[in-house]
């Protein structure tokens, strides 16, 4: 379990990272931030980059700030710092709750928000949250800077649409400021903090009469990429979210998923678990929304 040999460069700036990536030619060069996904892959020789470009010392890639109706988190911000942030908890509480399911203290202290998104593990909670909220990432490369919607970012398990010459620089998460907004996040794993067997994220807004006027539903771990369930969202919009309505509108969810079987759970178990997590998350979000009048 030792990585294949590689060259290492500690980059001092975003420009240096872009230059090193642009000059790669046929050589595989990979960015390393927290390393909590990449180092295990390299230990198992599932990844053998010729060069690692360390971005941990680039301050411009760190920090949490509000930009209009979005919360912007620098790609190299540690998961532990985001989880501890009162600003995040107030603006995008769904992310705070998702992060409490991300790994363990020792991995959150190194792992970054951008690293999780760029590695695109199908069970990753940060990708699920970004997908559910309709967030975006920004990236910079030889062709300049661009924004990529979460729906366009994830291409398959561990695969994104980021170019080999591109550095993911930040994630932008919409802030829902309407009253009677609530969120829910539920996950099942072998241990708390382990890879999800299935997870669900929900954020919704109710009107004064308790009718759902806006709902986003996402599922993780049960398809190659985090999935937004827009059909189910449509079926619940304009409805009062009593348990019977939620149950009926979500019944089709297992058929919308494309889960893998592995030694932790079979595909069928993942379908059923995902359904249960969505229903639970909707109820949690609904009850919180009712209290946030």
């Amino acid at each position: 379990m030792k990585a294949a040999a590689f060259d290492y460069v500690r980059a001092a700036s975003i420009e240096e990272v872009c230059r090193l990536l642009a000059e790669a030619g046929d050589e595989e060069r990979k960015i390393i931030a927290g390393g909590q996904t990449l180092v295990p892959l390299m230990a198992m020789r599932m990844a053998r980059p010729a060069m690692l470009i360390d971005i941990n010392h680039i301050d411009a890639l760190k920090g949490i700030r509000r930009e209009g109706e979005s919360l912007v988190i620098g790609a190299c911000t540690r998961q532990a710092d985001v989880l501890a942030s009162a600003e995040v908890r107030a603006a995008v509480p769904l992310l705070s709750e998702a992060l409490s399911n991300v790994g363990h203290e020792q991995t959150r202290n190194r792992g970054t928000v951008g690293g999780s998104l760029a590695n695109a593990d199908p069970t990753a909670e940060i990708g699920l949250t970004t997908m559910t909220l309709g967030g975006e990432v920004s990236a910079i490369g030889a062709g300049g800077e661009r924004r990529i919607a979460a729906a366009e970012l994830f291409e398959g398990a561990m695969v994104t649409t980021l170019g080999a010459d591109e550095l993911l620089t930040a994630v932008h998460l919409p802030i829902w400021s309407a009253p009677r907004t609530g969120h829910g996040f539920h996950e099942v794993g072998i241990r708390h903090g382990d890879f999800a067997i299935a997870a669900a994220a929900v954020q919704l807004t109710l009107d004064a009469s308790g009718t759902c006027v806006r709902i986003h539903i996402g599922v993780g771990g049960a398809s190659p990429c985090p999935l937004r369930l827009t059909e189910i969202e449509g079926a619940l919009t304009g409805k009062a979210l009593d348990d019977a309505t939620v149950e009926a509108a979500t019944a089709a969810i297992p058929d919308l998923l494309d889960p893998q079987s592995d030694l932790h759970a079979g595909a069928e178990q993942r379908r059923r678990t995902a359904l249960a997590m969505v229903r639970r998350s909707i109820r949690t979000a609904r009850d919180r929304a009712a209290q946030n009048a």
């Binding site: 590689f6 060259d7 295990p40 203290e105 020792q106 991995t107 202290n109 190194r110």
Partner: protein, 160 residues
Amino acid sequence: MSDHDISLTVNGRRMTGRAEARTTLVDFLRDHLGLTGTHVGCEHGVCGACSVIMDGRPIRSCLVYAVMADGAEIRTVEGLEGADGSLSPLQDAFWETHAMQCGYCTPGMLIAATALLERNPDPSEEEIRDAIGGNLCRCTGYVQIVEAVQIAAKSMREAE
């Protein structure tokens, strides 16, 4: 493939070595610096045996390349004892409750629990279990480990 001079402050002492980029921090500590107290288990970030404190925070030293830690301050299990060689209150409590069987997970457990008690002197049982949640004990001696952390927390509060 690049070799690097690496300088760390380990348990308050400046230590240097030279290693390939692919050398993990745990291998550097054990094989280059001779600090074999930190155990290496799964080598891919699952078991927690290699936990050390890096710049004030517990991390898994098998998931950090030593070159990435160049310039960092590291605390390992060797740094937990007092200047006179006496056991820390936590180590003492592990002794008292027999919070180890084979001892393989012990350094990682001690590091995780030390980091917990430094930021939270009065943790609940749930907080203790969460703090050691990333550390596997395959003898399944978790009950005594949790008990040891509770005893240590109490004795450290009383000594304040």
